[in-house]
């Protein structure tokens, strides 16, 4: 019995010494294994109780249990101390959060697509489909079917690049009005974004290649008021919730009545003056619009007395120049990464 107490005392002495050297979790774990593991000193000592006379066993058990309890207490105390030291060290770290970030290697969407998507997305949410079409088109789709027969004075407004006697690069997205109406029956509700080409000399405001977004809605009972509401909504997405639009009478052979569409300038709210965005007019020109001409509907074998519809065609670059405050239309086609990064 006293031998056991002595052994226990020695074990406790070694434990205390080891514990005082333990500096981290790993050392504590090793300590646990050495004393309480499968063949740890305490475990072995417990096993030796069986060799004692039965009368001494309860006392021996109690002495061991008491010592173990105090050892466990010491262990958790040291463990707690170690943990708090670790937290203190971790919490003591201090960095300069204003140090420049590491930029993620993201790319960018071209501003033309981004703007096209805002417009197309708006119309898609209202039930329009977005369709794409060819850039090389026969004159039939570009002109004849749109009520611009050969010799019509309005053909001159479309100074086009010709490939053959009958094929040209489309000067507007309107050919897709015809293709869509040929393939479907009303209701027709489509948006057509795409490239167009006209023989314009290139300068800061003009490009021989540009993008248009065309809209066409043909169904029973469609009138100009529906166009006004849809375009007002579109401008709210583009320029903010207080946007409004106005129509000015104009002439396009494929619409009657026809109108130019202007959006109230979002910067000066229509006041004009020396406004940089609208050039002082208070309004931003979006493009042409109108009610689809009865001759166009008839060419599609639609009855113009039964269905009616409207169409519009806006220049994307013209809007993008305003929206992103870009000084020169050519920047959209130079694709300088610095430019693209700014507008992403």
């Amino acid at each position: 019995m006293s031998q056991l107490a002595q052994q226990l005392g020695e074990i406790k002495g070694r434990f205390d010494a080891a514990l005082s050297r333990a500096a981290d979790d790993a050392a504590l774990e090793a300590l646990r294994v050495a004393f309480f593991g499968r063949i740890g000193e305490i475990t072995l000592l417990r096993r030796s109780i069986g060799k004692l006379p039965p009368a001494e066993r309860p006392t021996a058990g109690k002495i061991i249990n008491d010592t173990v309890a105090s050892m466990e207490e010491q262990l958790s105390a040291v463990q707690a101390k170690l943990e708090s030291a670790q937290f203190a060290s971790e919490l003591g770290k201090d960095i300069d959060v204003t140090f420049p970030s590491t930029e993620p290697a993201m790319g960018s969407i071209h501003p033309i697509r981004r703007l096209t998507e805002i417009i197309s997305g708006y119309f898609e949410r209202h039930g329009f489909a977005v369709v794409l079409g060819p850039e090389v088109e026969p004159d039939y789709y570009n002109f004849d079917a749109l009520n611009i027969p050969a010799g019509h004075p309005a053909r001159e407004g479309f100074d086009s690049f010709w490939l053959t006697d009958t094929l040209l690069l489309r000067p507007h997205t309107s050919p897709m009005q015809i293709r869509t109406m040929q393939q479907h029956q009303p209701p027709i509700a489509v948006i057509v974004p795409g490239k167009c080409y006209r023989r314009d000399a290139v300068d800061a405001r003009h490009s021989y290649m540009f993008h248009q977004v065309e809209g066409l809605l043909v169904a029973h009972g469609i009138h100009f008021g529906h166009l006004k509401a849809m375009l007002t909504g579109m401008c709210s997405e583009l320029f903010g919730p207080e946007s409004s639009i106005r129509f000015r009478p104009s002439y396009f052979p494929f619409t009657e009545p026809s109108a130019e569409v202007d959006a109230r300038c979002p910067l000066c709210k229509g006041r004009g003056g020396s406004c940089r965005m609208c050039g002082g007019s208070g309004w931003i020109e979006l493009g042409g619009s109108g009610m689809v001409h009865p001759n166009v509907l008839r060419e599609m074998k639609y009855d113009p007395e039964v269905v009616s519809g409207w169409a519009f065609g806006f220049g994307i670059e013209r809007m993008a120049l305003r929206r992103y405050d870009v000084d020169d239309i050519r920047r959209f086609f130079e694709n300088d990464p610095a430019f693209l990064r700014q507008l992403r």
Binding site: I109, L132, G225, S250, L340
Partner: protein
């Protein structure tokens, strides 16, 4: 068209401000492109030179006493040489404001001048269109009259944009009518321009009044009407100043009183006129006919034109005297000696005039009007107005003769009363409609209960259907009355798939670090040249542009890669870019293919010949794109492609269908573009990308896996893909992943051999895999690798 505001004020009362007038015009469909401001002018009056003497102290100066209608004449010194006693001249008084000059009391060589005699230039008129020196007033001008207000020299000039459907508004009276209708003000027209409708049927009434008048034969359906009128007792001289000033402000150079009348009437009424010197016509007979082969014409501007048989000409019995609707001939030009003239006021088919004008590359003020097909009534109005102005110049007018079609009323238009509401969305009753249309000259009457019969005025040949009338109503009522109504769009079967594919591509590549570019679709011969310099030839024949504006626009692009390379060359920085666009190929017909091209310019890496880490990264991007688009991982295989490095080119396929080609750019091509970085390119036609597969979830095994690495030695031509496929097919379901992860070539393996390391992860779904099972699988794999690919374990 230049519209001097002062001229418009003749016919209608207008607001003071040019901006207000411009806004009015824009609100009814005539946008004003520019307001040309007139200079600041004041205190210029009409004076008469009463005496003229040499300046006492200066040889080159004269001193005049000028009566300006006040008690005391003004003493004025001048250096001008075109002055004489009795002349009526313009005098700027002390305090007068002229362009860049304020008149002040000053001494000229000891003589105190009390004003200045001035030239056209000093009134802001083009100096070389008027006499040199002091501007001469007409003899009957009132002494002391205010020159500036008399000629309305302070009123700006508007540059009005007139749409091609409204040639009737390409005139001062036409614009004035629109302004009068928009403002509700009265329209004041010269008497001979009023009551146009009353002239309908005039042909019969006027016939045979002038027995000596010219005969006109119309031998082409493209000349619809020809009013001819004889004037005698002509004296050719300078026009009165008021007419010269007006023409000059409208941008028309004054010539002489006869030519000026034709220009004045064209600007005022919209009908181009031509005057022939009757003495130079052969026979009293004009013929409108097609040109004959070999005929020539020298026009008034001294240019000789070879005539085409498609030309419509006006000829006498001997020769061509004018190109119809475009310009008259030199032969019968009105000159100083002209005594008798024949007036032509004709109406032509606009399309024919347009084609002629294009064929000769010859546009004139006359042809820009005629090519839009004028209303026939204008021939009669123009002739009548010219007669009044020529009579004022002392000419004797004979009766006009009209040939060709007689004047007709425009066809009336049936307008259901519900039509404005159906197209515009707001209601108007019959009374309102009539009130809106009447100031424009439209007459209307009830056509049953529910419709109006609208009679367009004779000069409006653009209004033929009810939608045209609705537009007139909208113009006059104002689009502000259109309500806002959201349309309820019924479902339809039109798909947006192609658009969504493009957007999915763009957003996927953005996430992978690629910048989208948009480059020009037209290009010069330089692209083909650069490829051929590199010993390559573009696969496709390029489509040629017939009428390019520059040498850089001669072809449609047949590939997107040159645009990518061009960007790398111009920007000279490492970057990943892509472009979505159409390419064009000239075959039996023109093929147009929507395409994607990706490019990566990256610093060159030092690597052995058989390794290219950047290629593998780029291939990873390409595979990830395909996965995002189709939900599946494509197969890569070695390939060749134009412009790509023959040893670093692959094709990605799905189920044997080629999806994209990728590779390092051919170094010879990079040299041609002066690109010093490594470049990787990929091209994908968007025509056969499969619909995306929906990913299906498979739970992973709960049991531990075991990993085995194999070090193999194989012949050089054995691909990593072949190793992976052989292992995978041999070990079957046990293999959770098989991947070649290292390659080595060099002295430690034999020549013509390489060492590849492959890692297999083995796992069972139902229980823990045992070491024996794993060993057995590895053994099977090695045996298959040896027998199928000749692979040995690397010792």
């Amino acid at each position: 068209m230049k519209a001097p505001v002062g001229w418009l004020r003749d016919y209608v009362d207008l607001p003071e401000s040019s901006h207000e007038i411009a806004e009015l015009l824009a609100s009814i469909g005539f946008p004003v492109d520019a307001i040309e401001p007139r200079p600041e002018l004041s205190n210029v009056v009409v004076g008469r030179i009463d005496t003229l003497q040499k300046h006492p102290n200066a040889d080159r100066l004269q001193v005049a006493k000028v009566d300006i209608g006040l008690r005391q004449p003004l003493n004025i010194a001048t250096a001008a040489t075109n002055v004489a006693v009795g002349q009526m001249i313009a005098v700027a008084m002390i305090g007068a404001q002229l362009p860049n000059l304020k008149i002040e009391r000053r001494k000229m060589r000891g003589f105190e001048s009390e004003g200045m005699m001035i030239s056209a230039d000093e009134l802001g008129l083009p100096a070389d269109w008027f006499e040199d020196g002091i501007l001469q007033m007409d003899a009957e001008t009132l002494l002391g009259a205010d020159v500036i207000s008399y000629f309305r020299l302070r009123d700006d000039v508007l540059d009005v944009d007139i749409t091609t459907n409204r040639p009737d508004a390409m005139s001062m009276t036409g614009l004035a009518r629109e302004l009068a209708a928009a403002t509700g003000k009265e329209l004041r027209l010269p008497p001979e321009l009023q009551h146009a409708e009353g002239r309908i049927g005039a042909r019969d009434r006027d016939a045979k009044k002038d027995a000596d008048g010219p005969a006109v034969s119309i031998r082409s359906a493209d000349c619809t009407r020809f009013v001819a009128q004889r004037f005698s007792n002509i004296t050719v001289r300078q026009s009165p100043l008021w007419m010269r000033v007006r023409l000059a402000l409208a941008g028309q150079r004054p010539i002489n009183n006869i030519v000026d009348v034709s220009n004045y009437v064209m600007l005022e009424v919209g009908q181009p006129l031509h005057f022939y010197d009757a003495a130079h016509l052969s026979g009293n007979h004009l013929i409108a006919r097609d040109a004959a082969p070999g005929e020539k014409l020298v026009t008034l501007d001294d240019v000789e034109h070879e005539l085409f048989q498609t030309d419509l000409v006006i000829a006498d019995e001997q020769a061509v005297q004018g190109l119809a609707g475009i310009k008259g001939g030199k032969n019968a030009e009105v000159t100083a000696g002209t005594r008798k003239i024949i007036l032509e006021a004709a109406n032509f088919n606009g399309a024919r005039i347009r084609r002629m004008s294009a064929a000769h590359g010859f546009r004139t003020d006359a042809s820009t009007r005629h090519e839009k097909t004028l209303a026939p009534i204008l021939t009669d109005l123009g002739a009548a107005r010219a007669a009044t102005l020529l009579i004022a110049e002392g000419a004797a007018a004979h009766a006009p003769h009209a040939f060709g079609d007689s004047l007709q009323k425009q066809t009336p238009v049936h307008l259901p009363l519900g039509e404005p509401k159906r197209l515009l969305g707001f209601d108007l009753n019959a009374k309102e409609i009539r009130a809106l249309l009447s100031p424009l000259g439209f007459n209307s009457e009830q056509d049953g209960d529910q419709a109006l019969l609208i009679q367009p005025p004779a000069w409006r040949n653009d209004v033929t259907i009810s939608a045209d009338v609705v537009e007139e109503i909208a113009r006059m009522a104002g689009y502000d009355r259109v309500p806002m109504v959201m349309p309820a769009i019924a479902t339809h079967d039109i798909a947006s798939a192609a658009y969504h594919l493009e957007n999915r591509i763009a957003y996927s590549l953005e996430a992978l670090g690629y910048y989208e570019i948009v480059s020009y679709s037209l290009q010069g011969a330089g692209v083909r040249q650069r490829f051929s310099n590199a010993g390559l030839s573009l696969r496709a024949r390029e489509v040629e542009i017939r009428n390019p504006l520059s040498a850089e626009q001669t072809f449609l692009r047949s590939a997107l890669e040159p645009g990518i390379l061009d960007h790398f060359a111009r920007m000279d920085q490492p970057i990943k870019i892509f472009e979505l666009g159409h390419v064009f190929e000239q075959g039996d017909r023109i093929e147009e293919i929507p395409m994607l091209a990706m490019g990566w310019a990256v610093e060159n890496a030092r690597e052995p010949n058989w390794r290219d880490s950047a290629f593998l990264q780029f291939k990873g991007d390409c595979e990830e794109l395909v996965r995002r688009l189709t939900g599946r991982k494509p197969e890569a295989s070695r390939d060749t492609y134009l412009g790509m490095h023959p040893g670093k080119c692959a094709t990605l396929s799905l189920d044997g269908v080629e999806i994209m080609h990728l590779g390092a750019a051919d170094p010879r091509l990079l040299h041609g573009y002066e690109i010093r970085r490594a470049v990787y390119l990929a091209v994908i036609p968007l025509t056969h990308i499969p619909e995306p597969a929906i990913p299906q979830y498979r739970p992973g095994s709960r049991f531990p896996s075991t990993t085995r690495d194999l070090a193999l030695v194989v012949a050089l031509e054995v691909s990593a893909k072949a190793i992976e496929q052989t292992i995978a097919s041999t070990i079957g379901d046990l293999g959770k992943s098989v991947r070649v992860f290292d390659e080595y070539r060099g002295p430690q393996v034999g020549e013509n051999q390489k060492s590849l390391a492959a890692r297999m992860v083995l796992q069972r779904d139902d229980t823990t895999i045992t070491d024996e099972e794993a060993d057995e699988a590895v053994a099977r794999a090695l045996s298959a690798l040896k027998s199928e690919l000749g692979a040995e374990i690397r010792s």
